[in-house]
């Protein structure tokens, strides 16, 4: 079936088997390999993307559910060759280690900050509890999200 949806700001209309997973469509058809597969069952968060501004596990979303929606992946964040504010907050706060969870973590952080522009540490930790990082105790990631929140509030003021 032809599925019309918006991918990183561009209208796309691929011919898809409705039972295919979004993660495979992104990685295998569009070569957007930022979303990673760590578990295939929505537990690890490495494949997180935004669908209509809400974080979703792209391993649990099927092609048949995509029609008319907007999907944003980590590759859609940078503009004009520059990382966006949240990505910069992650690199500047030493929150990127092995980097495998990073794209999903950044997308979850973006989803959180769109809803809650001034989260507490506990709220950040709660929001990121669907994303596993094994390289840290999440300290630097929490710092990055707080920093990003502060910068975003300054930009929107």
């Amino acid at each position: 079936m032809i599925v019309h949806f918006v991918l990183n700001g561009r209208q796309v209309s691929p011919d898809l088997d409705p039972s295919r997973r979004l993660i495979d469509i992104l990685r295998d058809d569009f070569f957007l390999t930022g979303a990673k597969e760590g578990c295939g069952e929505g537990e690890c968060g490495s494949c997180t993307v935004l669908m209509d501004e809400l974080p979703v596990h792209s391993c649990l979303v099927l092609a048949g559910q995509l029609g008319g929606h907007e999907v944003l992946t980590v590759e859609g964040l940078a503009e004009n060759g520059e990382l966006d504010l949240i990505q910069n907050a992650f690199v500047e706060n030493s929150a990127v280690h092995c980097g495998f969870c990073t794209p999903g973590m950044i997308m979850s952080a973006k989803g959180l900050l769109m809803k809650n522009p001034d989260p507490t540490d506990a709220e950040i930790r709660e929001a990121l509890s669907g994303n596993i990082c094994r390289c840290s105790d999440y300290r630097q990631i929490v710092m990055a999200v707080k920093d990003a929140a502060k910068r975003l509030r300054e930009v929107t003021l």
Partner: protein
């Protein structure tokens, strides 16, 4: 020394491509004509494959071929062997008809798509004659049985001993302890891509490995290939924690590439990672220790039983790695460590962060906590009577352990944690609390505190010859490229090396390129194991950069016709103390050297370590137990780590944090559970294998001791492995304090907590 880059937290230039999603891990690689490989795994724990009907599988559109034990080399190898000259038992083959565990490799399907490969695997019909299965070492040791292996099924490594334990006077205490299988949960699943050129006979492999030379050696051995025709690239690695240090996927992908003459990707899903790569060893121990009248430890006797899983691989070495650390933390007159590594019909056990260090520390620190309780003493003060003093020489292998500030890390750790205050409060108010955190003798929650200490290794010296051969070259624009066999596990070793070079040459580390492991260009190396990267390779890189700096100064001296003693390097230029306005930018020197036919700015150098200063560290933890659910939570944690010099401090803090996450997980919840009859994994998904999540971790307090005394670059010692070593016993001690128990088997799952509380209530 005033340092400009080392010890600072800038990692931006090193991590941007990961934040942008552009970093390509092995699983992200696409090559033209690439095939997908899917393994055919044994559904039974022990047996002989009599036949395999692949007719339906081959009929699946897109299936190219099927490999099994009959059409691939049957060369026996050891996945843990890094160099072919290593004397380790060979038991494993690419594929086997004698299957030895649920998940053993019988064959593999190669297909155009992963969907086709998966479907074909499900259509393979196996005819297997089943043998009795032995799921525990005790079942194998019990007597006659159907052999799992003809040789080396049970290996008893050399007994490590000094003094005469039996003759040692003093009171003897003893303790049994046990830890379960765990899986590493590196976020990146295992993946290898191999490409074979039929015309040239050349093989190229991309893999997130800890040793490209190890992968090359395994492929060369199994397929009888010339090493110069095999090029292995280390790709960005989404975490290892030991799970990617053995040569598991690379030879399999290579077999697929040779069989088809096409590029092949072998990617394992999470269940396959758990079943078919490597799990942390289940270890059973019995420790006996003697104490003199002052309650100082005088001798230790330790029995170790390691469940190797279906193949010995690294397990015998693992026993020795535990045993040889017996005299690294505590002073004792005598010790005797007896170990055995036993094959069973279970998934293969093998490398895990710390390689025996955490396992031995778990035994010894539990035991010291038990002994402190037995004598009614404070665990910190009790330990001070038995710790080794600074600069001690261990009685096993006789090498100096370095500054070894065990008393200092304990004292600073106690202060950082508030040990005395917390102890006092628990003594006055009791261990029970209510929902609001207020003391309540009938309260729902229990709280306890505990601690543990350790020291660990910073490389191979002196147990194995070690070195680092490095090339540092300067380009015409003054930027630098380093050729070093580095494999960054994701914990910033490349970043550390960039800063080391930046510091030596006084240049922006962002202008230093350090590509990772590549067998075509790198000098042969021992691989990024045993926490040697910074201590050995980092020092090698530092010295090589110093040689290059010498060349810059030579040419500057020639250009200026001046004395050497007035020259120094700053901000990418050679400058003069006698003329503040004079500056020769590196790029000018590089062009001078080339334009005058002097040759390249190019330094090749080898460093051989002659010391192994292990970091000392002390961990303190506080645990809360919910007596209604049995759920345990870490509520406070402090670590003081004698790192010598933290090159990337924030990244080092994350190493401690990572260790706390997985170490506490191993005490509370992380456990690969096996079916007791078949050895099949019962919880082979992240839904059923629990790790501690962001919301369940406290703010971990970390302090580094930076005396700069070690031979590592700028005085650095190791951290990656060492960080994990004392976590488990420190957390278990707090849990025991909360429950008033002496539990010594982990994990202590909620069911076990509730069972313990019920048993106590019934008394």
């Amino acid at each position: 020394m005033d340092l400009k880059y080392v010890g600072k937290d800038d990692s931006v230039f090193n991590t941007q491509d990961k934040a942008s999603g552009e970093a390509l891990y092995a699983c992200d690689l696409h090559l033209p004509r690439m095939l997908q490989m899917k393994l055919i795994l044994s559904p039974v724990p022990h047996g002989r494959v009599k036949g395999m009907d692949v007719s339906e599988a081959l009929a699946v559109p897109g299936v190219v071929t099927i490999l099994d034990w009959r059409n691939t080399p049957q060369v026996k190898y050891n996945r843990g062997r890094v160099r072919a000259s290593e004397d380790v038992p060979d038991q494993e083959t690419l594929f086997t008809d004698h299957v030895r565990f649920v998940g053993d490799r019988i064959g593999a399907v190669l297909a155009e798509t992963k969907e086709a490969a998966e479907l074909a695997v499900s259509l393979v019909k196996l005819d297997i004659e089943e043998y009795p299965a032995y799921i525990t070492p005790q079942q194998v040791l019990a007597g006659p049985h159907v052999p799992i292996h003809d040789t080396d099924e049970i290996i008893r490594p050399d007994v490590i001993a000094f003094g005469d334990y039996d003759a040692e006077p003093g009171e003897e205490l003893s303790q049994l302890s046990a830890s379960s299988r765990t899986t590493h949960v590196a976020m990146e699943n295992h993946c290898a891509v191999a490409d074979y050129h039929v015309g040239s006979g050349e093989m190229e492999v991309w893999t997130g490995t800890q040793s490209v030379f190890g992968a090359r050696s395994a492929i060369a051995t199994i397929f009888g290939m010339d090493m110069h025709k095999i090029r292995v690239h280390k790709t960005p690695m989404g975490g290892s924690f030991g799970c990617k240090q053995e040569m598991i996927l690379e030879p399999l992908a290579a077999a697929g590439a040779i069989a088809t003459g096409r590029p092949v990707k072998l990617w394992l899903d999470r269940a396959e990672v758990m079943a078919c790569t490597v799990l942390r060893h289940p270890v059973g121990t019995f420790v006996r220790g003697k104490f003199d009248a002052d309650h100082k430890l005088t001798g230790v006797h330790l029995d170790i039983l390691l469940d190797a899983g279906a193949y010995q691989t690294v397990s015998p070495d693992y026993c020795l790695s535990m045993a040889k650390k017996i005299n690294w933390t505590y002073d004792m007159n005598s010790a005797e460590v007896v170990s055995a590594s036993v094959c069973t019909n279970t998934p293969v056990s093998g490398s895990y962060r710390g390689w025996g260090g955490p396992e031995l520390c778990f035994v010894m620190e539990n035991f010291m906590n038990l002994a402190a309780k037995h004598y009614g003493e404070d665990p910190v003060e009790f330990r001070k009577k038995s710790i080794l003093p600074p600069w001690s020489v261990t009685k096993v292998d006789n090498f100096n352990l370095g500054s070894l500030p065990l008393a200092e890390v304990m004292d600073r750790g106690a202060a950082l944690f508030g040990w005395e205050e917390k102890k006092e409060m628990l003594a006055q108010q009791g261990h029970r609390y209510d929902e609001n955190g207020d003391p309540d003798p009938e309260g729902r929650y229990l709280r306890g505190i505990g601690m543990a200490i350790c020291t660990h290794t910073s490389g191979y010296y002196p147990r194995r010859p070690d070195w680092g051969t490095i090339v540092v070259k300067m380009e015409e624009d003054g930027s630098v490229s380093v050729n070093c066999n580095i494999h960054d596990h994701g914990c910033g070793s490349v970043l550390a090396f960039q800063k080391i070079v930046g510091e030596v040459l006084s240049m922006d580390p962002a202008r230093v390129a350090i590509p990772e492991g590549d067998t075509l260009y790198n000098a042969i190396d021992n691989g990024c194991y045993t926490s040697r990267s910074v201590f050995v390779l980092g020092r090698s890189v530092m010295e090589t950069a110093e040689v290059l700096k010498g060349q810059l100064l030579d040419y500057a001296q020639e250009i200026w016709n001046c004395g050497r003693d007035v020259l120094y390097c700053e901000d990418e230029a050679v400058r003069r103390t006698d003329d503040p306005s004079a500056a020769l930018p590196y790029t000018d020197i590089a062009y001078y050297a080339a334009d005058h036919g002097k040759g390249a700015l190019f330094a090749a150098h080898t460093y051989w370590p002659e010391s192994n200063a292990g970091p000392a560290s002390a961990d303190f933890s506080e645990v809360e137990v919910d007596t209604y659910t049995g759920h345990c939570r870490l509520t406070d944690f402090a670590c003081v780590h004698d790192i010598g010099k933290a090159i990337n401090p924030e990244v080092c803090r994350s190493q401690i944090g990572s260790a706390v996450q997985s170490g506490a997980g191993m005490v509370f919840c992380e456990e690969v559970r096996l079916d007791p009859k078949t050895g099949a994994i019962l919880n082979d998904s992240l839904e059923r294998y629990h790790v501690i999540r962001a919301a369940e971790l406290p703010d971990v307090k970390v302090e580094f001791l930076e005396d700069g005394s070690a031979d590592g670059p700028f005085g650095a010692k190791s951290i990656g492995e060492a960080a994990l070593v004392p976590v488990m016993p420190a957390v278990l001690a707090a849990l025991n304090d909360a429950l008033g128990s002496d539990l010594s088997a982990v994990p202590v799952t909620p069911e076990k907590v509730l069972a313990y509380l019920e048993k106590e209530a019934g008394r």
